[in-house]
Symmetry: C2
Subunit: 329 residues, 2 copies
């Protein structure tokens, strides 16, 4: 009697201006869906990937979601057979945590299928392992918000210390994904290994201010603090017209605007859906001027993280979805 | 009809581990007292300094308190004559914001004498000017908490942006001041102008965690975050037996322990007066071992900042003090 589960894990914005490598937040959409099914074999198989334009490997050892599921099963000592279907509902290589969404969706799904032996927080190291497979570095600033939702501070990597940061409920993200490609490796290698102490001081003033502003719901403080004097000035060189896109966002009422993850996506935060829409139009326009198309996402901050969309207990029965909008997916 | 006012401004702990140059807090004691009296001349005079062991200049142009008062009077266009008595009730060159306490006490007093034309926040730039006179750099991380009380984040210097950070009310500071001398200039010059990006990332994780812990009253998070991987490892070389003093504090229940300002004072934070006392004994013992005496201060966080101790409206009348303990001072 095999079981099937459908899980969604959201796209995430990492770095968040002054929070390079330590802060991220989750979007309601886009994100990834996985459908996991228990099988009678002892194998992890990957039967289907959609939405990736044929770019992702079907090879179980190379696919992030499959690899983390195998790692998870070995850790808990299970020989359960699992078949994976991965439906990418978000762009790859966009700076929106695509590999994190796949890894988190897969892990959350397999953990649910097996009766939740691990907590969300305990799943985190496995998801980070997925990041290592995908990009060579076990970052937590995408996987942690994808798993837990909300704003997440990675206070420390060694030992791993993840802190959920309360935030004002009206906060909305506008994200534009320009149709250009930046490799994560390039975005990393453009950064210098050393920075000026005086710049670092500015940055920790801003991260302190941003955390205080988020917790206290002080939009003005959030606005003053959403500045990155270290990473953005370098990485923005890789994104055509970045300065004008940012300026357009700020002039449309954004609290702040910076690069999402390692780019090329650009995010802006604001405190209403209406303003978020205006920001989106203004940003899109500045990319259009130089002939670059973009995807646009407008989303409140996702306070849930990965979630179950539906479970099918026995073969042949109807799927019972927790969100009816996904029923006919 | 001349008027006299007595004002106290507290000692302060700047840097606060991971908050180099951006975070400070105020103590209840020690601190400085000034007595200001209006005079019939147009001059600012400095008639008396006590408690400085003869180290501070009586020259009005060189004394920090006198200089900032002159600067203040010029700014508001007043030719009021003022005589100053400065009573140092705290050690000089201790890393506890001695010059900040003098400047803030003087400014707060003259502003009160003249009917408070400026707010506390508006006095801040004048107090920073005092820091420039005293140490060559217009730092705000001592003067801001001395003026405003509590924990203060200097989010930005340009423009100046000072953010008061709520904190749990049980927080207590233990401060030991070893009887050795470190010049602020030496403590500055030992620092490198560049730091590793990976160290900076750790630091902004910790400052984010500390701010979140303070606001949310999460002692465990405060404890995990009170770490300085950049400044303390370098500056602690100037303080004999620092590592053992710190270890003793932590083993006695301190949430964290680091250098106060540019040293040589060492502060520890805890969440009860009883623990703070045990920490003090343990720290003192580790200094005693190598033959160094120290002053010890145990103080809840001062949430008031500079305050009026007493006002005398007319010559000959009795002083009416707001705190009777100071009446016979």
């Amino acid at each position: 009697m095999n079981k099937q589960i459908k899980v969604f894990a959201p796209a995430t914005v990492a770095n968040v201006a002054c929070g390079f490598d330590v802060l991220g937040f989750a979007l309601n959409e886009p994100g990834d869906e996985v459908i996991l099914q228990t099988t009678d074999s002892n194998e992890v198989t990957l039967s289907k990937i959609t939405g990736d334009g044929g770019k992702l490997p079907l090879d179980v050892s190379k696919n992030t979601a499959a690899a983390v599921i195998k790692h998870y099963l070995a850790h808990i000592g299970s020989r359960q057979g699992i078949d994976i279907q991965l439906h990418k509902r978000m762009p790859l290589g966009s700076g929106l945590g695509s590999s994190a969404a796949s890894a988190v969706a897969g892990l959350f799904a397999v953990n649910e299928l097996l009766g939740s032996p691990l907590t969300r927080a305990e799943l985190l190291p496995f998801a980070m392992e997925g990041e290592r497979i995908a990009s060579g570095a076990a970052h937590a600033d995408n996987v942690a918000p994808a798993l837990l939702g909300g704003f997440v501070l990675v206070r420390s990597y060694n030992p791993l210390d993840i802190v959920s940061i309360p935030f004002p409920k009206d906060l909305v993200a506008t994200v534009v994904h320009p149709q250009i490609e930046i490799r994560t490796e390039d975005a990393r290698s453009i950064l210098k290994k050393s920075i000026l102490l005086k710049d670092a001081i500015q940055q920790w003033g801003n991260i302190g201010g941003l955390i205080a502003g988020l917790i206290q719901g002080d939009y003005d403080l959030i606005k003053r603090s959403l500045q990155d004097v270290i990473i953005e000035p370098v990485r923005s060189l890789l994104i055509p017209n970045f300065d004008k896109v940012k300026q357009a966002a700020l002039e449309s009422g954004a609290l702040g605007c910076s690069i999402s993850g390692s780019g090329p996506s650009i995010f802006a935060l604001s405190n209403s859906l209406a303003i978020a829409g205006e920001i989106a139009s203004a940003m899109r326009k500045e990319l259009k001027v130089i002939g670059i198309d973009c995807d646009v996402y407008i989303s409140p901050i996702n306070n849930v993280g990965a979630r179950v969309l539906g479970v099918q207990q026995e073969k042949g029965e109807n799927l019972v979805f927790t969100h009816s909008s996904y029923a006919n997916d």
